[in-house]
């Protein structure tokens, strides 16, 4: 059985990666657990959005828009659930559904294995994710929200660096 296969004839260099059984579920749950636990001891850690990084990684690797969309939705809704009443259910769900879809769509067209490509894409997706949350808050929830602040720019860069390192770690979960 082929673990990797050519996605389409015209794009023979693009591979769809398969992961070990339960890897996606376990990684997602672990990311959510770490996201809610670590800031208690290291407050600065809250700058990192691990569920977003996981959504981007599996979206880029699986390269199937349907899978990316569903995974993004599941991760986003779980994050909403763990965020409490200040975050309405669906806020992160909507944002991560779109990010999951876009990541898997882009992953199907571009080679996203190089660290530089991963860094750039993570920064772009982080900004887009933030933009989607601001739009949702402003349009649907009528909550004033600033579009961009310097801490957000720093957070995008930090998440991109962490993303590159995390993605290298997650590459080990791929089937050979």
């Amino acid at each position: 059985m082929n673990d990797t296969y050519d996605l389409r004839v015209a794009e023979t260099h693009i591979e769809v990666h398969q992961f070990r059984g339960g890897a996606i579920v376990a990684t997602t749950l672990l990311a959510l657990l770490v996201q809610t636990s670590l800031p208690v001891y290291f407050p600065k850690f809250s700058i990192i959005d691990l569920p977003l990084l996981i959504t981007i990684y599996f979206g880029l690797s699986r390269r199937n828009p349907s899978t990316g969309l569903l995974l993004g939705m599941a991760i986003g809704l779980l994050q909403d659930s763990l965020s409490g009443p200040t975050v309405p259910l669906g806020l992160y769900g909507i944002a991560k559904t779109i990010i999951g879809y876009l990541a898997s769509s882009i992953g199907a067209r571009l080679d996203t294995e190089h660290p530089a490509a991963r860094f750039a894409l993570t920064m772009v997706f982080f900004g887009l994710h933030q933009g989607l949350i601001v739009v949702t808050r402003r349009l649907l929830l009528a909550q004033p929200e600033t579009w961009f602040t310097m801490p957000l720019g720093i957070a995008a860069a930090v998440n991109a660096v962490v993303g590159v390192l995390l993605f290298m770690l997650l590459d080990r979960l791929r089937k050979k």
Partner: protein
């Protein structure tokens, strides 16, 4: 020659004994000195350069022992800090015996990177309900926004949606204090004419009917003129970035905490737990 020697044996110097002894000692002692320094040098060279085979092992053992001791010191410091915090909680609990309250540990944070909330290890089964006040001996922490069976969620003062009825402790000027999503809080409605100074204490006013009156909220850290109100930033009295244990006031009715003797620029922590650090002043 023999006669000279005999004379030397007989002649006695006042302080140095017989002359023959003086000569003998004078002749031998330089050799002894040279011999002694030679032996000392050789012994030193042996001890410091050649006989070092155990020193390296000794050094490793001492380094290991040093690291172990450092670790033990860290553990003891951590335990001492925890004991201090728990003692402060206990003191506060004892000083307010008529007020129903419950100690809880912080076990988690929000999954939303922009929210300032925390999960506690106590919930509905322990009597915790929404809108109950959460404090530490240092000051106000926030309020319960969701209560589950065994856990509950606190909205910290620093969250953008958070607020507490407050007033300046000395001038009694009232104004709500709210979170900004950043470490400092904002005091919103203080007119430009009102006198406010850096370091002024801010306490709860009790007007929100959640927090009892006169709990420390923080100290004034920044003042800027604004239109129509001053832009005042407050440094929280409670250490919201490193919360470990908190107290939940188990009542939805307005509570009156026992008023303790007022001391200038003293927070609740200082009154109840002298060992705890005072709220930081800007």
């Amino acid at each position: 020659m023999l006669q000279i020697l005999l004379l030397a044996v007989q002649i006695r110097r006042d302080s140095q004994g017989r002359l023959i002894r003086v000569w003998t000692v004078g002749a031998v002692s330089p050799f002894e000195r040279v011999g002694n320094s030679g032996v000392t040098g050789i012994r030193g060279a042996w001890n410091h350069y050649f006989a070092l085979q155990n020193t390296s092992r000794e050094n490793e053992r001492l380094l290991h022992e040093n690291n172990t001791l450092k670790l033990q010191i860290n553990q003891l410091q951590s335990k001492a800090a925890e004991a201090d915090r728990l003692a402060a909680l206990l003191n506060f609990r004892k000083s307010q015996q008529s007020v129903p309250m419950l100690g809880a540990r912080v076990i988690g944070a929000s999954a939303d990177t922009a929210s300032q909330t925390a999960y506690l290890d106590r919930g509905e089964r322990d009597g915790i309900r929404r809108n109950m006040a959460v404090i530490t001996p240092d000051g106000v922490v926030g309020k319960i926004i969701e209560s589950y069976r065994d856990t509950s969620q606190v909205l910290l003062l620093t969250d953008k949606d958070s607020g507490v009825g407050s007033m300046l402790a000395d001038s009694r000027i009232q104004s709500p204090v709210g979170g900004t999503g950043e470490p400092l809080l904002a005091m919103k409605y203080v007119a430009n004419d009102d006198a406010v100074n850096l370091g002024d204490r801010v306490v709860t006013s009790g007007m929100d009917r959640i927090f009892p009156r006169d709990l420390p909220v923080g100290t004034v850290a920044q003042i800027k003129p604004g239109n129509p109100f001053k832009q005042i930033r407050i440094r929280p009295a409670a250490k919201l970035e490193s919360l470990e244990e908190v107290i939940v006031l188990l009542s939805l009715q307005p509570l009156d905490l026992k008023k303790e003797p007022e001391t200038p620029s003293a927070g609740l922590a200082e009154k109840t737990a002298p060992g705890l650090p005072r709220p930081e002043k800007p």
